[in-house]
């Protein structure tokens, strides 16, 4: 910290916490200069709800947002709206071997 000087022990602990914490996950938006440096177009995490770039948008991501759909379906606890592959649509991802490459092949389903 440059504009606040931690004076007592507790203030130093608060400072440590701030400097080591993952800033991206701290809730309400912080001013632009305080955000972690993420190049435009990257998403740092592959989990539902986090796939935005540093400006909060999805347009220029390296990884397509559509892969989330697949992520929700295979590995995530998130109760996402994905087709029921147990009974009605067992093959809906059959053509998608690797999500980041083949995501366009995931079938559309119209129940």
């Amino acid at each position: 910290m440059k504009h606040l000087r931690a004076v007592n022990h507790k203030a130093r602990r608060i400072q440590e916490h701030i400097e080591n914490d993952v800033v991206a996950m701290q809730g309400p938006p912080t001013p632009a200069g305080q955000r972690p440096h993420v190049p435009m177009g990257c998403s740092i995490v592959f989990s539902p709800g986090w796939e935005v770039d540093s400006s909060g948008g999805t347009a220029g991501l390296c990884q397509p947002v559509e892969r989330d759909l697949y992520d929700c379906y295979i590995s995530c606890y998130w109760p996402a709206q994905v087709p029921d592959h147990m009974n009605n649509y067992p093959d809906w991802t059959a053509k998608c071997a690797a999500a980041t490459k083949d995501w366009r092949n995931i079938d559309l389903v119209f129940p």
Binding site: R5, A6, N8, K10, A32, Q34
Partner: protein, 467 residues
Amino acid sequence: MNFRLGEFHAFSGGGRRFLYTVPSAGIFELDDTSAAVLARLSQGEATQEELLAAADAETIGELYQARIIATTEAFVDPPQPLPDNFPLQTMVMNLTNQCNLSCQYCYEFGEDKVATPEGKPKFMDFETASASVDYLFTQSAGRHGVHITFFGGETLMNFPLLKKVVDYAKQKAADQGRAIDFSLTTNATLLTPAIIEYLSANEIGVTVSMDGDKASHDKFRVFANGKGSYDIIEPRVRELIKEHKTRPIVARVTMTSQAMDVLGTYRHLKNDLGFHEIGFAPVTTSPNRLYSIDNRGLDSVLDQFGVLASEYLDHALRGEHHGFSNVSDTLAELHQGVNKSHPCGAALGLVGVGPSGDIAPCHRFVDSDTHTLGHVSTGIDKAKQNDFLSRGHIQVKTDCRTCFARPLCAGGCHHEAYVRYGDTGHPNLHYCDWIRGWTNICLEIYGAIAAQNPDFLRHFSDRKAAA
């Protein structure tokens, strides 16, 4: 999204600007840019763009993350559940409930007493005392050091037991490879050269209850026949201070409406008698007693505390010791950044044990049937302990919710609250202004020391680490 001021208390010291953040109890120094942000927000809420006119984004980010400024959604203090297993650290052993003085304001015998000693032993026996020590050692598992404070009644009326307890506890500590230390509180009437030599040889800390010079002291600290005790204790106290070399000797002053000369009392006890440290506290009483201190009296006490506190600061800036322990105790807590769930360690790390072996939250509740938590032979009744601690928790004290002094005060003494309001969990509202005034004085001193002689604060790191 709008920004607004978070919760803090601003103060200055040594020409610098500081904040005491609440409830986290951090102390931060501001620079011009961060001060400008706070100045803008003190006029009302502002958007991010409006704030950026006053300062750069980096400053705003720092203030936001330290919760000095907030967005309009409030931060909520995270709930602090009661600890399920809190090891003991200190036991206050009331070796006897008998006393050779009849101080009228005494919380143990006076008009506001909570003790119900009828039918209970007047002196603790060795069986109970050793069971108490055993209890302390078992219940403090995980801590290296433990502490025993001998108390009364008049502690020295059971001096033979004190010696046995010291031997027993030292042996026990040695067997377990742990550390123990001792202290006692006394009215000094029964001190003899032999006792003083023993206390010094065993490094037993001594606190003397003493209210000032003869006139102040003899107002309340009298024998049963009404005769003052000053003349009896004065030579003994001098002898104690001269001969007891291993621990600082402390005077503990009880202030009443008839003895509020803080400055005169301090000078007498420090300069004339030579005590190393002097601590002051107002008498605990229901409000209608003649000796209770009213608001006007409290203002006068605060003014005098302020004078002594600035003397303390002068000493600290020269790197010298000053004996006003009300300041050093508060500075130690400020330096650490203590944020209390409870006003003190009563029923957490500390318990009081009466002559019968009954366990009370602290020495002030000893021998009171209403407040007994258990017995050293059977342990503490968890339900009673939980009831006591839940009542005293800062989060249930709604009156305290907006007070900047709550990290330190946490509502104040449980016993005082019981005497005043009939509930150990009631905040001590009669002291609020006083506590805030005093906390502010100590913050200013802390700030000035941090700005002008920061090395002095190292004393407080050591002090807390030793505890």
